[in-house]
């Protein structure tokens, strides 16, 4: 198991390095510079600024300097807002983004699995058609459209919830709804189909023959097996929720990391782009790793395969 984790860690590090390199290449090949937008700075000032941020050095040297900043986790100050460091921005933005993300994942998982199970148990019944109808809507409507609709109806017209910002649990409702609906729909559909398959298995019949209660049969015997594919897609769903949060944070003016990330690209704020990208990718890679581990915890057969692979 330890060997497996070490191997995984190495692969994770290589993945991260590839992402960093690609980001760097993209960053230097996009036209424009952090100082252009000012418009009023003269050439000497610009040259001095470039020198200060090491932008006058040859590109391979810049690349090495970036790598160094990543290894030491010192991304330095932002260019557009020189009074804050990239680490400050991540430190301030990440807890808010994480809060949004975690609540979204929990809401999507619980509601998705519940809808899926209900649909499977009432196969071809009213609940089945209703929840699958909701699921299809959830998959087809993009979250930014849903977000604006929710703001228009629930915040502006009905005034049930605040329009934007991030202060109280009430502020969370709309952005979480907008962000969670898509993943919830995917989870619901997946849970339904795997649940339907699992319910026809012999071991479910066997559990019934033991005289177990329907609740026990569903939760202990069926759901555990039905959730395996859901765990598999959780990785991609997490990525989806993360990228979705950039948009949602913009729409709802939530001061999370997504805001800094988008702004940094607009301003060609190289250290911030680099810092947030590395942070986001590292986060996602770790999450995918955890999903892998969770898989082994739920299905004992997978754990053994890994052992044999050592």
């Amino acid at each position: 198991m330890l060997k497996y984790i070490l191997k995984k860690l190495l692969i994770m590090a290589i993945t991260l390095w590839i992402i960093i390199t690609l980001t760097f290449v993209l960053m230097v090949s996009v036209p424009g510079s952090p100082f252009n937008s000012e418009g009023n700075s003269n050439e000497i000032v610009q040259a001095n600024l470039e020198k200060h941020y090491n932008l006058d050095k040859p590109i391979p040297v810049q690349y090495l300097l970036y790598l160094k900043s990543i290894v030491t986790l010192e991304f330095g100050p932002s260019i557009s807002q020189p009074n804050q460091t990239v680490n400050d921005m991540i430190g301030r933005g990440f807890p808010i983004s994480a809060e949004l993300g975690i609540v979204t994942v929990i809401v999507a998982l619980i509601s998705g699995v519940t809808l899926g199970v209900l649909a499977a148990l009432r196969h071809n019944g009213v609940i089945d058609y209703l929840s699958m109808g909701i699921a299809v809507l959830g998959i087809s409507v993009p979250n930014f459209i849903l977000a604006t609709l929710l703001i228009q109806q629930l915040a502006v017209n009905l005034e049930w919830f605040p329009v934007a910002t991030w202060k109280s649990p009430m502020h969370m409702v709309l952005p979480v709804l907008a962000l969670a609906t898509g993943p919830m729909a995917i989870i619901a559909r997946l849970t339904r189909s795997t649940m339907l398959e699992v319910l026809t298995q012999d071991y479910i019949k066997m559990a019934r023959a033991k005289g177990l209660s329907p609740w026990k049969i569903i939760v202990k015997h069926a759901l555990r097996n039905a959730l395996m594919p859901v765990i598999t897609v959780m990785g991609t769903l997490l990525a989806g929720i993360m990228t979705g949060s950039f948009v949602i944070e913009q729409i709802f003016a939530i001061p999370g990391m997504g805001k800094y990330f988008v702004e940094s690209i607009n301003h060609r704020d190289y250290p911030v782009i680099m810092g947030t990208t590395v942070f986001y990718s590292a986060f996602l890679i770790i999450m995918l790793f955890l999903v892998d581990i969770a898989y082994g915890l739920l299905d004992p057969r997978i754990k053994v395969m890994k052992k044999e692979g050592e």
């Binding site: 012999d202 559990a207 023959a209 005289g211 177990l212 097996n225 299905d299 004992p300 057969r301």
Partner: protein, 333 residues
């Protein structure tokens, strides 16, 4: 002898898009305490449906018990509530399934699956339940039970899994065990071991067994009595000697003739044709179309059950006095 189970005129149907399948069409049989009854017949004759009906495990919809009684120890199981039925399943009546590779949940340990039935029905501490589980594993012949309890189904071979399935079925000391083709999915050598295990278990626990199978070799080994099923009906019942040595129904004879034998040479004699379509089963005897002795009456009216001896009954027009006279005149001519 005390009858532990009596099935009377049982009818089971399945509604499908193509119409209603009459899977079981008036089955009568009974089971004495401590005996082994084998229900034999080819695929699709309704033997598994009959066993599921006794457990009330027929998927509903589309399946439904439309008529008949299943009397188990004085109460009609077709009429009891689902809640009451749950307290009977696994406790009074247990079931063993055909394929041990799929009958165990791959994500739960063997120990958990053994104990959960016990914990569901009896007030028992975890420690006592574990002791009982280890006892059962020893009874069914699993070495190192304490170690093995912590393992998962995929760490067991097919034969070992079937032993576990049997242990699970017996852990609450049921009085009736329904084994639905318990050896079909196993190697021949493992089959023999499992059959020996059944004999041992019956000796130790005195459980009554209904054995569903299409394998006459299995029947010959462990059955006391045999019921032959065809197209949703039991066409002949009798004890083992009667069915094997004095079969009366042409179908039973055909079935016995189609078993490969080592002691005689010559071609195997299969039964020609196929069983009738149970969407619209024939009015008369369902075997008429394949029967070498078919008469006009066979196609029109289902024969009444005739007693050949106290224990031997057969549904066939050939048993009728008139048919016997006819046969006699044909022979003399």
């Amino acid at each position: 002898m005390e009858k532990i189970l009596e099935v009377k005129d049982l009818h089971v149907t399945f509604k499908t898009y193509g119409g209603t399948v009459q899977a079981v069409r008036g089955v009568d049989f009974h089971l004495y305490k401590g005996e082994t009854l084998a229900i034999v017949g080819e695929s699709g004759c309704g033997k598994s449906v009959t066993s599921s009906a006794i457990m009330r495990l027929i998927p509903s919809p589309p399946g439904k018990i439309t008529a008949g009684k299943i009397v188990f120890k004085g109460q009609d199981l077709t009429r009891v509530s689902e809640r009451k039925m749950r307290s009977i399943r696994g406790v009074d009546i247990s079931m063993i399934f055909q394929d041990p590779m799929t009958a165990l949940n791959p994500t739960l340990t063997i120990g958990t699956q053994l104990i959960e039935g016990l914990k569901q029905h009896k007030k028992i501490s975890d420690k006592d339940a574990r002791i009982r589980a280890i006892e059962m594993m020893e009874l069914v012949g699993i070495p190192n039970p304490e170690e093995r309890m912590k393992q998962y189904p995929h760490q067991f071979s097919g034969g070992m899994r079937q032993r576990i399935v049997i242990a699970i079925a017996l852990i609450c000391e049921p009085e009736l065990l329904i084994a639905d083709e318990p050896t079909t999915a196993l190697d021949v050598t493992i089959q023999a071991q499992i059959l020996e295990l059944f004999e041992k278990i019956q000796e130790v626990t005195g459980v009554s067994i209904i054995l569903i199978t299409h394998d006459l070799g299995v029947v010959a080994k462990i059955a006391d009595r045999i019921a032959v099923m065809y197209a949703g009906k039991i066409i002949e019942t009798g004890n083992k000697r009667e069915i094997f040595y004095k079969p009366q129904h042409p179908y039973t004879k055909g079935l016995l003739n189609s078993v490969p034998r080592l002691d005689t040479k010559g071609k195997l004699q299969p039964i020609d044709g196929t069983p009738p379509d149970l969407f619209s089963p024939p009015q008369g005897c369902p075997f008429t179309a394949r029967c070498p002795f078919a008469m006009e009456v066979c196609n029109k009216v289902y024969p009444e059950s005739t007693a050949v001896s106290d224990s031997h009954r057969v549904d066939c027009w050939l048993q009728d006095e008139r048919a016997k006279q006819l046969l006699a005149t044909m022979v003399t001519n």
